[in-house]
């Protein structure tokens, strides 16, 4: 069974159709890149998969491990293993990062009927991952993302992803706002999470990220549909020639 099966997905936002019959499959162990021009529906896809309110699904289905994902609330999806790394991670003044991380880990564990993680185990795990990502302890003591630079926010997203060990990772324009050093650290963090049971969707506008996170498959999204699928060479082709040719085909 495929990890994720999206069939003929039609989604509207504020009465405007954004996804128009999108069909996409992600296998376990696969890293799929989704590329597309501005306005092609990339972020809408990531939000719909994570369950953000305000998106109207008009037709189609989304199955995660054979289960209807669209029927679940965002927290239920998270507990099932869906993780969205936000393009713009939010600042939450007054909520300490460590408290947030622990609450999230234990909420998911409770939802799955598992025991909560002990405090020493939790701290050990966070320190280990933070060390890989070059996240200082001082950052973890601050409120979630408050006063973080763009790069720190993205590293914090990858920290959460590593800690929560999701089945399906969705990275929404993770490269936006990153300088080359931060891009390398974040990419290494993502690559460390690649695993045979885990699927990943990497949404990006540019080929640059895919130099660091090498995809198994590249899909081109245009006007709310996948218009072309290929291997990593497709990304180079897009970089060289632009999206015009594919978007014209879709039209």
């Amino acid at each position: 069974m495929s990890l994720l099966e999206i069939k003929n997905l039609h989604v509207a936002v504020g009465g405007r159709n954004i996804l128009n019959g999108l069909t996409l499959t992600v296998e376990k162990g696969q890293l799929a890149a989704i590329m597309g021009p501005n306005g092609s529906g990339k972020s809408t896809l990531s939000h719909v998969l994570a369950g953000k309110p305000g998106y109207e699904v008009k037709d189609g289905s989304v199955l995660l491990d054979g289960e209807d994902l669209l029927a679940l609330s965002p927290d239920q999806r998270a507990a099932k293993g869906v993780f969205l790394a936000f393009q713009y991670p939010l600042e939450i003044p007054g909520v300490a990062t460590m408290n947030f991380l622990r609450t999230a880990v234990n909420a998911q564990r409770r939802a799955r009927g598992e025991a909560e993680m002990s405090t020493p185990d939790f701290l050990k795990r966070v320190r280990e991952i933070a060390g890989h990502l070059g996240i200082e302890q001082e950052m973890l003591r601050r409120s979630v993302n408050v006063g973080f630079s763009g790069g720190e926010k993205k590293r914090n997203e990858v920290l959460q992803m590593a800690l929560l060990e999701p089945q399906l990772c969705i990275l929404d324009e993770t490269d936006s706002g990153l300088d080359i050093d931060a891009l390398r650290v974040v990419s290494e963090g993502v690559n460390r999470l690649r695993a045979p049971e885990r699927g990943m969707i990497v949404i990006t506008h540019y080929q640059r990220l895919l130099e660091y996170i090498v995809p198994d498959v590249v899909h081109v999204l245009s006007k709310g549909r996948i218009v072309k699928t290929g291997d990593k060479e497709l990304a180079h082709e897009l970089e060289a020639h632009g999206y015009a040719r594919f978007t014209d085909e879709a039209a």
Binding site: G51, P53, D75, A78, G94, V95, T103, A107
Partner: protein, 435 residues
């Protein structure tokens, strides 16, 4: 000519007048002062919405009838939960039943040098003039203060001598028993120069009780003295609770005061504060956690008279159901109060369509070299933040809880004692879990 103009009295006003006529002969203290105070009330009646200071809290409409005066409380009084909540804080507890200090339940042993505790009526017996307030005097024309002066005999007078530092906080525990009643009490606190006092005030009552509480607190903070005060309002959802504070700060003194309201049906905390000595510091924080038809009004009148004083107000309301949170703050800076640094912020979080926040911050500045600011915001929970938390696995309720705790967090942080901050957050979490 004026004799012909009569206030139309409500049943409650009529009841209060009858009670005063019946009891005034028995009340201790200066009878002339009681009569003056009663006349203030009789002239204006219960405060109502056309009186600016009471605009959002119409006591005349809310008070259907006047409860009879409380009978004397018995020694076998249930202390409810505030004693448990504060069990980890080694405080000297004074227990008040129906406004009267119950000596057998109060910790009056081994009183530290420099501390004196006397009941208000015993002080009145010795010094009839003690009825007239000190720090409360500027509020003598307020109807609630006037009623307190007219009726009160119970309460306590606490003096901390110059230079004394009290090792243990004082916990004033107020509760009620017997038939629901009108309870008047006066607390006088006089903190001498350079002295230090931590004061915890809790108010509780059994569910469903509809007492009418009117208390007045007269607090004088001496030069260089340091006072920490925290009030917990935990009374029944039907209680009418009006508390009036007179506060006067001496030179280089420090007063840190905080009010949490989770209980009460209609609550009014009115504070009349004056920074009278140079370079005094006043910090005033508060949190309302309200639901159902609860109404809590915090009204602060702060007068900067002396130069170089600093005042900070941070007040947060979380309003669910059909509740209503009111914050009025007026800071006046007199011409001689140069270098005043005053900041006031009030924020409301509305959790339901039917909740209402009324906020009225005001500055009145007559000095030219000051830094003053105020702000007010009201809004709902941020859906994007909620989604972010839910996307990490927090169920909706838990995500909201975390955001609400974060919302009140900086106000709670103004409380200096870590143990008290824990109690405040514990009560907040309880409130959130009961939502």
């Amino acid at each position: 000519m004026n004799a012909g103009i009569r206030q139309i009295r409500t049943a409650a006003e009529q009841g209060i007048a009858e009670m005063f006529a019946a009891i005034k002969g028995e009340l201790p203290g200066d009878a002339t002062e009681r009569q003056r105070a009663f006349d203030v009330f009789a002239g204006a009646g219960l405060p109502h919405r056309r009186i600016e200071a009471w605009k959002y809290t119409d006591l005349r409409a809310a008070m259907r009838a006047a409860k009879p005066l409380a009978s004397t409380a018995q020694a076998a009084l249930s202390q409810g939960r505030s004693a448990d909540l504060l069990a980890h804080i080694e405080a000297r507890r004074l227990v008040f039943g129906n406004g009267r200090m119950i000596e057998s339940l109060s910790d009056l042993a081994d009183i530290e040098p420099g501390l004196t505790i006397e009941t208000f009526d015993s002080v009145l017996g010795r010094d009839a003039a003690a009825l007239a307030g000190d720090a409360l005097a500027p509020a003598n024309d307020d109807a609630a203060v006037a009623l307190n002066t007219a009726f009160t005999r119970d309460g306590v007078v606490i003096r901390v001598a110059e230079g004394a530092t009290l090792r243990r906080p004082l916990h004033l525990l107020f509760t009620v028993q017997g038939e629901a009643a009108a309870v008047y009490s006066r607390v006088v606190i006089d903190v001498g120069a350079g002295a230090k006092l931590a004061l915890i005030e809790t108010h509780e009552s059994a569910a469903g009780r509809d007492d009418q509480i009117n208390m007045a607190i007269d607090l004088v903070v001496g030069d260089r003295a340091h006072v920490d005060h925290v009030k917990f309002g935990l009374e029944s959802e039907n209680t009418l609770h009006v508390a009036s504070w007179g506060m006067r700060l001496g030179a280089a003194s420090h007063l840190n005061t905080f009010i949490l309201n989770v209980g009460g049906g209609l609550v009014r905390n009115q504070i009349f504060a004056e920074c009278q000595g140079d370079a005094a510091t006043l910090r005033f924080g508060g949190v309302n956690l309200l639901t159902g038809r609860q109404h809590a009004d915090t009204t602060l009148t702060l007068n900067h008279v002396a130069p170089g004083c600093q005042s900070r107000e941070l007040f947060k309301s979380v309003l669910d159901g059909r509740s209503r949170g009111v914050f009025q703050g007026r800071i006046s800076v007199q011409p001689q109060a140069q270098k005043t640094d005053a900041r006031m912020m009030t924020r409301a979080l509305l959790l339901s369509e039917d909740a209402e926040a009324d906020m009225k911050p005001e500055l009145e500045i007559f000095a030219d070299d000051v830094q003053c600011g105020h702000g007010a915001t009201a809004g709902a929970l941020d859906d994007n933040l909620k989604f972010y938390l839910m996307a990490r696995g927090l169920p909706e309720k838990e995500a909201e809880s975390l955001l609400i705790q974060a919302f009140i967090g900086d106000a709670v942080e103004t409380v200096e004692d870590a143990g008290l901050r824990e109690v405040l957050m514990l009560l907040a979490v309880e409130w959130l879990e009961a939502r």
